[in-house]
């Protein structure tokens, strides 16, 4: 178990290393941050002074080595724009993204699993067919378009829900959160719904497929032949059996929601990490981009690790050896 976790951490380290290398090379090709940082009327001396101040006058490989050296001490550099440590900038924005993603995922899991169970248990029912047709729509509509439509519908036409910002926030554990206040929840509603739509469709299809598969298995029939209540047959015997793929997808979706919530955050002016990332790319603020990506990679690794641990709780047949070699079931 310990060896397995060490190996996972080592792999994560390699991924981070490769990613930083790519970001350095990629941004170097994309443009020179100095062009953006210096005022247009600055002379060559001023230009050189600013480049030197940010260490941008040195060759790229020197810049990279310097970055690595500082990174080992937990310093991912200072933002060119804000002149503050990049990591703390990212972490400041993390709670907003986190609460949005978690809420979206709760909506997705709640609706996805319950609708999927229904459609799987009663495949012939009219409602099931409607659910399945709706899921195709949910999977195929682009997120940005749905977001715009939600704004047009619920904010502009009906005026029910606000379309931008976080609303009132409440400080918990030293960070501001929107979800504990009613106004914050109203602000969360549209972006969370927008993020959840695709996932609802995904999870419900996955759930339905799982149910269709296990409902005819002997152990489900045996559970019924023992006279167990339907709630127990469905809630324990069927649900536990189909949970592994669903947990995997929820884990991956959680990561990708956090990593790629830029579109939704931009549409709803949600001050999360995604927006910070977009802004930083526009001004080639390399330290912030790197810090953001490091945070996201670490998040992916952690969530996958948690999902693997959860498998073990869900299915006793998954041994440590399976997980270590990556050979799933």
């Amino acid at each position: 178990m310990l060896a397995w976790m060490l190996r996972r951490s080592f792999q994560a380290g390699l991924v981070v290393l490769a990613m930083t290398l790519l970001v350095f090379a990629g941004l170097h090709v994309a443009g020179n941050p100095v062009d953006i940082l210096v005022p247009p009327d600055a002379d060559a001396a001023e230009r050189a002074r600013i480049a030197a101040a940010f260490g941008l006058d040195r060759p790229l490989w020197r810049q990279y080595l310097l970055f690595l050296e500082r990174a080992t001490q937990g310093d991912l550099g200072r933002s060119f724009i804000y002149n503050r440590p990049a990591l703390s900038l990212v972490f400041e924005r993390l709670p907003a993204t986190l609460e949005l993603s978690v809420l979206a995922l709760l909506i997705a899991a709640g609706f996805g699993i319950s609708l999927g169970l229904f459609a799987g248990l009663r495949p012939q029912a009219l409602l099931s067919r409607l659910i399945m047709a709706g899921s195709v729509v949910g999977l195929s509509l682009p997120t940005f378009w749905v977001g715009l439509m939600l704004v047009v519908g619920f904010s502009v036409r009906l005026g029910w829900l606000p379309s931008s910002g976080r609303g009132d926030t409440l400080a918990l554990l030293g960070v501001d959160w929107s979800f504990p206040t009613l106004d914050g929840l109203r602000h969360l509603a549209l972006p969370a719904a927008n993020l959840a739509l695709f996932k609802v469709a995904l999870i419900l299809r996955l759930t339905r497929a799982g149910v269709r598969e296990v409902v005819h298995l002997d152990y489900v029939r045996f559970a019924r032949a023992r006279g167990l209540a339907p709630s127990r047959v469905v809630g324990v015997h069927i649900l536990r059996a189909i949970m592994i793929p669903i947990v995997t997808v929820i884990g991956l979706e959680f990561c990708s929601t956090i990593a790629f919530s830029m579109v939704t955050e931009s549409i709803f002016a949600w001050p999360g990490m995604g927006r910070l990332m977009i802004e930083s790319i526009q001004v080639l603020d390399r330290p912030v981009i790197v810090a953001y990506l490091v945070a996201v990679v670490l998040l992916f690794v952690t969530v996958n690790l948690l999902a693997d641990l959860l498998y073990r709780l869900l299915d006793p047949r998954v041994g440590p050896a399976d997980a270590a070699t990556g050979a799933g079931r």
Partner: protein, 338 residues
Amino acid sequence: MSAPPSPAPSPLPPLLEVQALRAELATRGGPLNMLDDVSFTLGHGRVLALVGESGSGKSATAFSIMGLLDPPARVAGGSVRFAGRELVGLAEAEMRRLRGNRIAMIFQDPMMTLNPVLTIGAQIVETVLAHAPVGRAEARRRARDVLGRVGVPGPEERLACHPHQLSGGLRQRVAIAIALLHQPDLIIADEPTTALDATIQAQILREVRALVTERRTALLWITHDLSVAEQLADDIAVMYAGRIVERGPATALLRQPIHPYTAGLIASLPRGRRGSRLTPIPGLPPTLASRPSGCAFRPRCGVAGPACAADPPWRDRLAGSAPGGAVRCVNPGQAVAA
């Protein structure tokens, strides 16, 4: 004053009375008959073996009795009376109260019948709690006791095991233990020893027989194996293509089969001298969609004639003797003479 000796059949109605049971499978091309006119009775403490090839409707009969036939299959007619109560059309909640309680079932493959992600203990305890108003501690005690009764060694430790940690034989014992939990009046066993190796099979047959005799539990034992039926059953019913074609007391039926299909099954058994040839039944059983009218065995039968194109009527197996059983064949007796 001494009571007059009562005749062999008890005056009580039989525990299970299946009458003209019919089951259909809905398909795009219209319903197909899975079961057609299946009738038999089973008394308290008796063992009836339902014998037939795969697809002959043995399991469909079992699931019809249990009310567990899933769409697109359904019971289309006939009656199943259990302890005087009609089960066909009974409300699901009522049916659930009987399942696992008064009528228990054991499945074929012990690798598949227990939920792989739940412990043995959890699965026994939930079955106790489904039918008995007891607390968790008492349910657990009963779980331990019943495992001990079916000869599972170290029951206490086994409760914490998951199914994959147990051998196939042990798993089937667990399934049998679950069936015995509420001391049912009837156990339906769907080929429960087929997936086990021969020594375990013999052992389990012996033990099941003892457990059933002890409590006067009736047993409907579904098997494709006539030799299992011979060891275990009081009566045998032979199924072919969704119908019972012959039924009667086990020893009489095996010694003197009347229906050509029964005779063919017996001839294909390895018995008698070593090295003697087995005689297979020619051809294959018909599929659900291609069952011939009249006697479905007709295309494979050595003595079939034009009369077999009509539905054969039931007649006594042996003329004159009442408890000799019945057969559904227009040429009774000819196959045996051959």
